[in-house]
C-alpha cells in the first residue's frame, strides 16, 4: 500500500472516529453526570440510551439554519467553522499509536498544537462579535481575556517537557518517556497544563464564556441548528484533544505494558475525558476576577518555577563534574 493511501486512510479514519466520538461523548457526559447526581441520565433510546446521540444528531441536523437579521452574516457563518477546523487540525500532530497518527513526527508538533488552540479563540471572539448582541459580546470578550491569559502559561507549562525530551515533536516526546512518564518529573507542569487545558476547552469550572446563568449561553446565544452543533462538537473534540495531549505529554502516550498501544492510548485519554466530566459535575464556576487572578498570580509563577527547576536539574545533570 502506497504511503499516500495509508496517509489518507489515517486522515479519514481519525476524522470519522473523532466526530463519532464527539457525538458519543454527548451521551457519555449526560450519562455520567446523571450517575454523579444519583440519576440515570438518558437511558430510553436504544440499549442503555445509546441511540440518544443519534436522536440528538438527527434533531440538530434538521433544525432550521437561521441567521439573525442583526448579525454580521459572513463572520457569523465562519465562526463555527473556525472552531471545528482548528480542533480537528490540532489532532493531526497527536501520535495515537506507533502506526496511527497523521503528522506525529512534525518537528514543531507541540507549537502547532498551541497555535491551533490559540486560533480557536478567534472562533469564539468572532462568534460573540458577529452575533451583535450584548450577551454574546460579553461572552466573547470573556473568552478572549480568559484564553489569552491561560494560553500564556499553557505554553510555559509544557516547556519543562520539551527541555527533558529535547524536542517539540510529539512522537519524540512519547519516545523520551520509554523509561519514566513525564508526570513524575514534571508533576508541577502537569497540574498547570491540566488547569490550562480545562480553561482552553472552556469547560466547567472555567466556562465563563458560556456562563449559562449569567449570559444566556454566552458567545453562542444567537446560534441555533447545526451552527450551534458545530460549536458543540468542537467543544467535545476539544476535550478529546486536550485529554490526548495530556496523555501524550505526561503519561507516555501509547506506551504501556501488555496491552496494544492503541488501547493504552484510549484508556489514558478516556480517563481524562471522564475527569473533565467529573469536574463539571463537582465544581462551581469561579468569579471572573478570581479566574484572572488565579491565572496571572498563581499559575504563571508556578509555570515559570517549573521551567526554572527543570532547567536547573537538566543543566546540573549534563555538566561535567
Amino acid at each position: 500500500m502506497s504511503p499516500i493511501v495509508s496517509g489518507l486512510l489515517n486522515v479519514v479514519g481519525i476524522l470519522i472516529v473523532l466526530v463519532a466520538l464527539a457525538a458519543g461523548l454527548t451521551w457519555i457526559e449526560r450519562r455520567l453526570l446523571g450517575f454523579w447526581q444519583d440519576r440515570y441520565g438518558p437511558n430510553r433510546a436504544g440499549p442503555f440510551g445509546l441511540l440518544q446521540a443519534v436522536a440528538d444528531m438527527i434533531k440538530i441536523l434538521f433544525k432550521q439554519d437561521w441567521v439573525p437579521p442583526f448579525a454580521d452574516r459572513p463572520v457569523f457563518i465562519i465562526a463555527p467553522a473556525v472552531a471545528m477546523v482548528t480542533v480537528l487540525l490540532a489532532f493531526a500532530v497527536v501520535p495515537v499509536s506507533p502506526s496511527i497518527g497523521i503528522a506525529a513526527n512534525l518537528n514543531i508538533g507541540l507549537l502547532f498544537f498551541l497555535a491551533m488552540s490559540s486560533l480557536s479563540v478567534y472562533s469564539i471572539v468572532l462568534a460573540g462579535w458577529a452575533s451583535n448582541s450584548k450577551y454574546s459580546l460579553l461572552g466573547g470578550m470573556r473568552a478572549a481575556a480568559q484564553m489569552l491569559s491561560y494560553e500564556v502559561f499553557m505554553g510555559l507549562s509544557v516547556i519543562g517537557v520539551v527541555i527533558i525530551a529535547g524536542s517539540f515533536s510529539l512522537g519524540d516526546i512519547v519516545d523520551a518517556q520509554h523509561r519514566l512518564w513525564f508526570i513524575i518529573p514534571q508533576f508541577l507542569g502537569f497540574v498547570v497544563f491540566v488547569i490550562a487545558g480545562i480553561a482552553e476547552t472552556r469547560r466547567l469550572p472555567f466556562d465563563l464564556p458560556e456562563g449559562e446563568n449569567e449570559l444566556g449561553a454566552g458567545f453562542h446565544t444567537e446560534y441555533s441548528g447545526m451552527k450551534f452543533g458545530m460549536f458543540f462538537v468542537a467543544e467535545y473534540i476539544g476535550i478529546v484533544l486536550i485529554s490526548a495531549i495530556i496523555t501524550t505529554l505526561f503519561l507516555g502516550g501509547w506506551r504501556g505494558p501488555a496491552l496494544p498501544p492503541l488501547l493504552w492510548f484510549l484508556i489514558k485519554t478516556g480517563f481524562f475525558i471522564g475527569f473533565f466530566i467529573l469536574l463539571r459535575a463537582a465544581l462551581p464556576r469561579p468569579r471572573y476576577d478570581q479566574l484572572m487572578a488565579c491565572g496571572w498570580k498563581v499559575m504563571l509563577p508556578l509555570a515559570l518555577l517549573n521551567i526554572l527547576l527543570t532547567g536547573a536539574v537538566v543543566l546540573a545533570d549534563r555538566s561535567p563534574v
Partner: protein, 170 residues
C-alpha cells in the same frame, strides 16, 4: 484547592450510590391516599348517588371545568348531567373541599392521557364509581333533616322528632 479535590472525590463516590430516579412506566411511583388525581363521584352506602347538585363544586372551581344541571325526583336532588372537562382541570381539590356530601372526591390516579382532547370530557357515567370512596359510612339523606319518601322529618340519625307546637302536652 484541597476542598476542590475533596468535592471531586465525594462527587465521584456518588457513582456507587442508589439512584433516586423512579423509572416510571415500568416502576410505579407511590401515590399517597389523599393524592389529588382523577376526580370521581361516589355513592352512599345504599348505592344511591351522593351528589345533590348544589353547584358548590362548580362555584369553587377556579378554572370552571365542572358543569352540571340540577333535577329533582321525589324530593331528592340529582344532577341531570355532571360533566368535568379534564383538559382544563388543575387538580386543585377545591371541589372536594367544597362538597357538602362527600360526593366529589379526588383519587390517586393520574394516568388519563388521551389522543383527542374531547375524550378528556368525562360525563357522569364516567365519573360515578360503585363505592363510597374515602368516607364509607356517610349518607347525606340519612343525617339531614330533609324529608324524603321513606324518611319523614325527625327520623334522621341523631334527630329528635319535631315538637308539636300546637299540642298542650309538655
Amino acid at each position: 484547592m484541597l476542598s476542590a479535590l475533596r468535592t471531586l472525590w465525594l462527587t465521584f463516590l456518588h457513582l456507587f450510590h442508589r439512584r433516586e430516579t423512579i423509572r416510571y412506566p415500568e416502576q410505579k411511583p407511590y401515590l399517597a391516599p389523599r393524592y389529588r388525581g382523577r376526580i370521581i363521584l361516589s355513592r352512599d352506602p345504599d348505592g344511591e348517588e351522593r351528589c345533590v347538585s348544589c353547584y358548590l363544586c362548580a362555584v369553587a372551581c377556579p378554572v370552571d371545568c365542572i358543569s352540571l344541571q340540577k333535577t329533582a325526583e321525589d324530593g331528592r336532588w340529582y344532577p341531570e348531567f355532571f360533566r368535568i372537562n379534564f383538559s382544563r382541570c388543575i387538580f386543585c381539590g377545591y371541589c372536594e373541599e367544597a362538597c357538602p356530601t362527600y360526593a366529589i372526591q379526588l383519587t390517586p390516579d393520574f394516568e388519563m392521557s388521551e389522543y383527542e382532547r374531547r375524550n378528556l370530557v368525562y360525563e357522569k357515567e364516567d365519573l360515578l364509581i360503585s363505592g363510597t370512596g374515602k368516607y364509607p359510612g356517610y349518607s347525606f339523606y340519612r343525617v339531614s333533616g330533609l324529608a324524603i319518601p321513606g324518611k319523614d322529618k325527625g327520623e334522621a340519625e341523631g334527630e329528635e322528632p319535631p315538637v308539636d307546637v300546637k299540642g298542650l302536652l309538655p
